[in-house]
Symmetry: C2
Subunit: 159 residues, 2 copies
Amino acid sequence: MNTNPYDVDKISKIFREYLMEQGLRITTERKTILEHICRVHGHFDVDMLREMLEEDNFHVSKASIYNTIELLMNACLVVRHQFSTQVVQYELKSAAMGHHHVICSYCGAVREIRCDAVARLVKDVKITRFSYEYYSLYIYGMCSKCRFRLMNDKKDKNK
Amino acid sequence: MNTNPYDVDKISKIFREYLMEQGLRITTERKTILEHICRVHGHFDVDMLREMLEEDNFHVSKASIYNTIELLMNACLVVRHQFSTQVVQYELKSAAMGHHHVICSYCGAVREIRCDAVARLVKDVKITRFSYEYYSLYIYGMCSKCRFRLMNDKKDKNK
DNA sequence: ATGTATGCAAACCATTTGCAATGAC
DNA sequence: GTCATTGCAAATGGTTTGCATACAT
């Protein structure tokens, strides 16, 4: 029933319309960057995106990547995540809407889970003087790897 | 029924115990920084905290503030928020647990709301190989001020 | 033809790091 | 007395900015 969250044609069309509406130009860079974002099925950061583009022999400056991501966020097509310090990651909004993020506070690993009950409830939260666009739910805790490592560290200490 | 989320004595005790447990030292700086954090009823950032301390004639280097906040996060007493770019804010975990964040994507204004139904549901989400510590829910959209401003801008254009 | 968008390099600024001096234990 | 912690200043690195050139309209 759900439509593909990575549908390039659909997403590119929305971006084109947004740019025209705002009187901004539809450049090769902007189009190509968005196309590559749609190919990443998951999170991405500026460097990763740049490498992908470079591998495709498409050279863009970092400044243009930042510029384009900014526009995509304004167009509500991309959302920003900052799970830990120093690492800013982005994600297509259409993809982000389908899951929540489970983050290990110790190693920083990020996992995605679905929970439609939570999703439904959050969308129905009534907020006065505010028009809802989207939400991010980050659940923090300790992953099994870190728990295991911690247990072993304690054992070693007691020896 | 709820206990005061800003209870200095209780929070300081937990921090002291954490430090001893980890073989770390209980310094005047660490104690004083935490005491000031408990006085902020809301979010704070490193500079704000430093100003507060300075006003109290307590001089600490930024490095020590960063160091102490790091420890407080490891002790699960403080959580980090990054609502928009460039501004990292922190909050006492005991305070953060009582509310969700409503953020305007346009002006960056942050509001807090309570919704116990969501809180209960999220805490009960079953996650395999993971021990839950806390969660953050960020709801993004447009606040009434920005909506109003946008409407006026459009009117002006059409003139 | 006009003026926005790009690329590049320099600037910025929050955070981190290195090291000598201090102070907790 | 020992060694972790602090303060200071320098280093780091992601993001932003300024400006000449390229190109969308």
